[in-house]
């Protein structure tokens, strides 16, 4: 299965779709296709129904959170300084907006090939977290899309039953997002280390400003 060939085949048959091949530099070489949200359903249907592809089984769906980040670059710019043109070094900060990504792994049971890896990205991490649901196309996506909605907060348009799966309905946060802060449960293990130690110290400084003495410690 050549992903390059599949990509050009889809582009020829699904008018208007914008695909991007994301290469995987690791030894596994599992390259993937980034779909645009508007044509994703059409592309998925094409992959499922075309006789030579027949990706009839959606095996796995994963969510990824890409937080927005600022990248500072040092660029040499020609500028007029005191009437003389000089080369000056400037730092330019570019903001890369964050997004949520969903990864689908498809196999073909009939043709015995796969996987093909599809990705979709949301516009941002706040209001534009909508993506088309693949549940009407592969029924096996239902619970996994619900889980991704639960833990990442991706809203799948067209999903028949988009409710929280693991957390309770009243829960407001999305725990698998990078900026999630989990509840301040007391970390009372005396052998805490690394991140837990940091959190325990933070908790202790907030909860008991005065450190307990040796005798009081249990």
């Amino acid at each position: 299965m050549n992903l390059e060939a599949i990509k050009s085949e889809i582009e020829a048959n699904v008018p208007g779709c914008r695909l991007e091949l994301i290469a995987n530099p690791s030894p596994s070489g599992q390259h993937s296709l980034l779909l645009d949200a508007e044509h994703a359903s059409a592309v998925a249907l094409y992959l499922r129904d075309t006789p030579n592809l027949r990706f009839d089984f959606c095996s796995n769906i994963t969510g990824i959170d890409w937080p927005g980040k600022e990248v500072s670059q040092k660029i040499k710019v020609r500028k007029l300084v005191d009437g003389v043109e000089q080369e000056v070094e400037e730092t330019r900060i570019t903001t890369i907006p964050g997004s949520l990504e969903v990864v689908y792994h498809l196999y073909s049971v009939e043709k015995k090939h796969g996987p093909i890896v599809l990705r979709m990205r949301t516009k941002d991490r706040d209001a534009g977290v909508h993506l088309p649901s693949f549940t009407p196309i592969w029924r096996s996506a239902e619970l996994q899309e619900r889980e991704i909605f639960d833990l990442f907060g991706v809203l799948f348009d067209g999903h028949p039953d988009l409710r929280r799966l693991l957390m309770w309905d009243e829960f407001q946060d999305y725990p698998m997002r990078r900026d999630y802060v989990d509840p301040d449960d007391y970390e009372y293990e005396p052998t805490a280390h690394d991140a837990v130690l940091q959190r325990a110290r933070q908790h202790l400084s907030q909860a008991n400003p005065v450190q307990p003495s040796e005798g009081e410690a249990r």
């Binding site: 693991l166 957390m167 309770w168 309905d169 009243e170 829960f171 407001q172 946060d173 725990p175 999630y180 989990d182 509840p183 449960d185 007391y186 970390e187 009372y188 293990e189 005396p190 805490a192 280390h193 837990v196 130690l197 325990a200 110290r201 202790l204 909860a207 008991n208 450190q211 307990p212 040796e214 009081e216 410690a217 249990r218």
Partner: protein, 213 residues
């Protein structure tokens, strides 16, 4: 009653006892656990009741499917925050006298899931626990040992006086707060009347860094 007189009488074929002994003997020998498990510890609990380990030898062969008929709750497994209100509600529905065995690392402290956002860090935050058994999961022998410890505990209970058990003291509660699902965590996060976070000394900056490098 004097112990010497008692043994002397029993040698002569006269059996004497006190109401307290009789009462505790009855309760010790028929602790019926609630038929209820949460995770892999429940598999060990099931094994304990079957022929090889045979919990029936201790008078606990009848696992009751209803909390109304149960005396003992074995919290066997990970208590997730989503499950915690139901566990507390089941405990509240049990009639007094009732006991709790916290089985395994998860039920004691959250175990390997301690740093998770979704796991309750110990069922003792919401209900009073009588016996803790560490292990992941504890072997059936450990559960039997916990069971025998509970029997010793019941046997030693006084029917009157300051130290009488909760079910004989009208002022003590027999029901505990059922936590509600909140927007970020359970509300309240613990029952302050039965559980407070222990004070633990954590190594100060400098001393641990020098040790780790």
């Amino acid at each position: 009653m004097d112990e010497k007189l008692k043994t002397e009488l029993s040698k002569q074929g006269i059996f004497t006892t006190s109401l307290q002994e009789l009462y505790n003997w009855g309760r010790t020998s028929s602790i019926w656990p609630l038929n209820f498990g949460l995770a892999c510890c429940a598999i060990e609990m099931i094994a304990t009741t079957m022929a090889r380990y045979d919990l029936a030898r201790f008078g606990a062969e009848v696992f009751r499917p209803s909390p109304r008929q149960a005396d003992l709750m074995i919290v066997a497994g990970t208590v997730t925050k989503k499950m915690a209100p139901q566990v507390v509600r089941l405990y509240n529905q049990m009639p007094e006298p009732k006991y709790v065995i916290s089985m395994g690392a998860c039920a004691i402290s959250g175990g390997p899931f301690k740093q998770g956002y979704n796991v309750l860090k110990g069922i003792d935050r919401y209900i009073p626990v009588d016996i803790y058994i560490p292990g992941c999961p504890p072997r059936p022998e450990a559960l039997i040992d916990a069971f025998m410890e509970l029997q010793k505990k019941i046997d030693a209970q006084q029917l009157t006086g300051e130290n009488r058990p909760r079910h004989l003291n009208a002022d003590e509660p027999s029901e505990f707060i059922v936590p509600q699902f909140g927007e970020h965590d359970l509300e309240p996060t613990r029952n302050s009347s039965i559980w407070e976070p222990p004070l633990v000394q954590i190594a100060q900056t400098g001393s641990d860094e020098s040790g780790s490098h």
